[in-house]
């Protein structure tokens, strides 16, 4: 095969993002979970919650480390793999990129202070206050970076006159039409995913038969938080559908395999395309696409056939979109069911199989995050900057991108495995039961 830098640049960027987003999502969401838990611990004067916050923080440091180094990698790879794109984009959208660094810096400083000052404060509340800048910094990082991604979807804030960029307005570029829904979607799903990942860990202990009340408290709290953010995600998802229908109709149509423009459009779930391009074996929900796109069951939804074929996103995005939505719906349902079951004291919460189903929530929500980003990125194709620059035009012309792909694949394999091994070892060596017993002893001696 002939060396094609565009193909390898796309693959390497995709690989880095797919790996980074796992850690980045945790990095954005978990500080909020730690803050909520520590706050409840202080309010209720319950050492279980305080210990939860402490133990999560220890694990969090490991994921932050991988998030930082892969974030540095993607930051540099943007210029290394997409130099033509960055030259253009740098003129218009570098402001939020720059501010993201400040937000992250702010977060890193206070995280360092928080980590090393658990026992410096007489007043636990003051220590908890340090988490506020951490959580704010983390969320603002996501806010600024998502703006850049939003800009790639709906670029604005500049004019091109005779091939030259003029009338640049950095603020207009930042607050482009895709920004509100995209930022809201990224933040709510990061909180939701982090809550489900932490819930999964607690569910796993219960599944393994460790019956300590500590795990039950953790599971109940995180399921509740997960439920709240799932509902928020559903609402934001609905707005995102309406945004797409108005500003990126081809992206929505590709996700739905909605080829012909029609009124009262149904939502097509899964299925496949046969040789004639007909949809087979799909589940159709009548009117649902019109509702998603315009909030009106009879509204007309633009079909993919209105666009020239060369501008169609790849049809595979249909599966990414459907999987993401299906998982989101499932998690909303299961967390609501669990919450009800606990309140009504249903016996099912003690059931092993049910506990196993809860264990799956964390991995499932991570899959949904991946699917969502695959949809976002593939769905924007063939554009890197929609309407202005096609993806191949943005890519590097350099040699050895293929070699770099293998090097980075090896790096991510090592980092991924090592971070998991370290996390498992860290918590196995110091199980919560032991730590609680140690604390009790310490108090006894006093």
């Amino acid at each position: 095969m002939e060396y094609d830098p565009v193909f390898f640049s796309r693959t390497l960027t995709g690989l880095t993002l797919a790996f980074h987003i796992l850690y980045a999502t945790i990095g954005v969401g978990v500080p909020l979970m730690i803050a909520i838990t520590q706050w409840i611990g202080i309010k209720k004067n319950d050492e279980h919650y305080i210990l939860l916050a402490r133990r999560w923080t220890r694990g969090f440091v490991i994921t932050v480390a991988v998030g930082v180094v892969t974030g540095t990698a993607i930051g540099l790879q943007l210029s290394l793999l997409w130099p033509n794109f960055m030259e253009l984009a740098g003129h218009v959208i570098s402001l939020p990129l720059f501010m993201e660094t400040f937000a992250f810096f702010f977060e890193a400083i206070f995280l360092g202070i928080y980590l090393y000052t658990w026992d410096r404060f007489e007043n636990q509340k003051k220590h908890m206050l340090l988490l506020i800048p951490v959580a704010i910094g983390a969320s603002f990082s996501a806010f600024f970076i998502t703006m850049v991604n939003a800009f790639m979807n709906t670029p604005q804030g500049f004019d091109i006159v005779n091939g030259a960029l003029v009338n640049v307005d950095p603020i207009a570029a930042m607050f482009n039409p895709a920004t509100p829904t995209k930022v809201a979607h990224v933040l709510t799903t990061a909180y939701m995913t982090s809550a489900f990942v932490l819930a999964s860990i607690a569910a796993f202990h219960l599944f393994k038969g460790r019956d300590h009340i500590y795990h039950k408290k953790a599971l109940y709290l995180m399921m509740k938080v997960g439920l709240i953010f799932s509902i928020a995600t559903v609402i934001v998802g609905d707005f995102s559908g309406k945004f797409l229908a108005e500003y990126q109709p081809e992206k929505l149509a590709a996700a739905e395999w909605h080829f012909e423009t029609e009124e009262a459009a149904p939502l097509v779930l899964f299925g496949w395309l046969d040789d004639e391009g007909e949809i087979r074996g799909a589940i159709e929900i009548p009117y649902a696409l019109s509702i998603l796109a315009h909030g009106d069951p009879t509204a007309e939804v633009t079909g993919l056939n209105e666009f020239p074929e060369e501008d169609h996103p790849p049809y595979i995005v249909h599966y990414f979109f459907d999987l993401m939505v299906a998982i989101g719906m499932w998690l909303t349902f299961i967390s609501a069911f669990y919450w009800l079951a606990v309140r009504r004291k249903w016996k099912v919460i003690k059931n092993k199989v049910f506990n196993f189903v809860l264990v799956l929530s964390g991995p499932l929500s991570m899959i949904a995050i991946e699917m969502g980003w695959f949809y976002a990125e593939f769905g924007r194709q063939p554009w890197i900057l929609r309407g202005f620059m096609r993806t191949p035009e943005g890519a590097t012309s350099a040699a050895y991108v293929d070699t770099m792909l293998w090097l980075f694949a090896g790096l991510y394999l090592v980092l991924g495995t090592a971070s998991i091994v370290v996390l498992i070892r860290m918590f196995k060596k110091n199980p919560v039961e032991k730590e609680l017993a140690d604390h009790a002893n310490e108090r006894g001696e006093r």
């Binding site: 923080t57 440091v61 490991i62 480390a65 930082v68 180094v69 892969t70 540095t72 990698a73 540099l76 943007l78 210029s79 290394l80 793999l81 130099p83 033509n84 960055m86 030259e87 253009l88 740098g90 003129h91 218009v92 570098s94 402001l95 990129l97 720059f98 501010m99 660094t101 400040f102 992250f104 810096f105 890193a108 400083i109 995280l111 360092g112 202070i113 980590l115 090393y116 026992d119 410096r120 800048p133 960029l165 003029v166 640049v168 950095p170 603020i171 590097t396 350099a398 991108v401 770099m404 980075f408 790096l411 090592v414 980092l415 090592a418 971070s419 370290v422 996390l423 860290m426 060596k429």
Partner: protein, 341 residues
């Protein structure tokens, strides 16, 4: 003063910050690994860990600032440097990633493995070496424009004596900066055994630092005569820098005012670094790209400068807080307080 100069000065300042802070970090990692393998761990380990622990994440951010700011102020540099630096910078990223994450794995995952520590120490020297390649390339002569696209000439780069002089300077100055800082830090901690060991390291690496710096100037004369002439036009800056170098070594030698020795080192490197930057003007990549043809539009430049000032106003108090808690807090530095994370 025009915006391009303000922009490039701000970035140069960040790069200087990165070089100092990262040098301390890289060198500390190397000394820590060295002492582990040479079985003198008990003397140095404690002081180095106390310094590194709360600060490891912060270092990287300075680098990110620099390259994000570079793309912001000089988008064309993303095009030129992005295309030619694929291989060297990818290697740097991989080394940074291994080093950064293994620090966390090892410290928080609490497993002492000699292989990790060795990797960690060596990576700390390879990173500055690989990053310094960028400065070499910026001198010109290693890039050719093929069609419309810049291409890096790997062979010329590898066999150029200039490349290796800059690599040597980057490595030895890392060790020199780090040892001097840690000497002062150990002195504050009143850990005199560690201070003596580190002071010896600092003195040992001072000579190679100044010699390799001189070597580079001499080699620039053959490689890029324009740049050499510019350096000679402001020879007094480099002369002043040398005077501060002598002050640092003298103070270290006499075991006096260790903190002042470190500040004098900062001034020495600051003068040399800004002298180098000024003499490099106006080129970002000799002879293809100057700060003027690579500069962004005025609206973006103003927005970036405003964001920079606002961000700085937020960061400076935070950094001071961090420094007060961990760098200038005698109880912490001495390790007298109970520590549990």
């Amino acid at each position: 003063m025009d915006l391009a100069i303000i922009g490039v000065s701000v970035l140069w300042l960040f790069l200087f910050g990165y070089i100092i802070i990262a040098s301390i970090d890289f060198g500390a990692g190397f000394f820590s690994a060295y002492s582990e393998l040479a079985n003198t761990k008990h003397v140095l380990h404690h002081i180095i860990q106390r310094y590194l622990s709360p600060l490891w994440e912060v270092t990287n951010v300075f680098l990110v600032f620099f390259f994000v700011g570079m793309v912001g102020f000089f988008p064309s540099s993303a095009y030129y440097y992005g295309t030619i630096l694929l291989v060297p910078i990818s290697i740097s990223i991989i080394l940074l990633a291994i080093r950064g994450s293994y620090y966390a794995f090892q410290t928080y995952g609490a497993k002492d493995s000699k292989a990790y520590i060795f990797l960690y120490g060596v990576a700390g020297l390879l990173i500055p070496a690989s990053l310094s390649i960028v400065l070499t390339i910026s001198e010109g002569g290693f890039v050719e424009i093929v069609g419309d696209n810049p291409k890096l000439l790997y062979g010329e780069l590898f066999f150029s004596p200039l490349t290796w002089s800059i690599v040597i300077l980057s490595v030895v100055s890392v060790l020199y900066i780090s040892a001097t800082f840690l000497t002062a830090y150990a002195d504050v901690a009143e850990d005199f055994a560690a201070r003596e060991v580190l002071r010896k390291y600092a003195l040992a690496w001072s000579g190679p630092t100044i010699l390799s710096a001189g070597l580079i100037i001499w080699q620039l004369r053959q490689h890029n005569y324009d740049h050499f002439t510019n350096i000679m036009n402001i020879w007094w800056v480099f002369g002043l820098s040398t005077i501060f170098f002598v002050i640092t070594v003298y103070l270290l030698w006499k075991r006096k005012f260790f903190s002042m020795a470190f500040w004098s080192l900062i001034i020495q490197f600051g003068l040399a670094f800004f002298g180098y930057g000024v003499s490099h003007y106006p080129y970002l990549l000799y002879p293809y790209l100057t700060i003027y043809d690579g500069f962004t539009n005025d609206a973006m430049a103003q927005a970036l400068i405003i964001a920079f000032i606002a961000g700085f106003a937020l960061l400076v108090p935070s950094i001071l807080l961090l420094a007060r808690l961990f760098l200038f807090n005698r109880t912490y530095v001495k390790g007298e307080e109970k520590r549990r994370y």
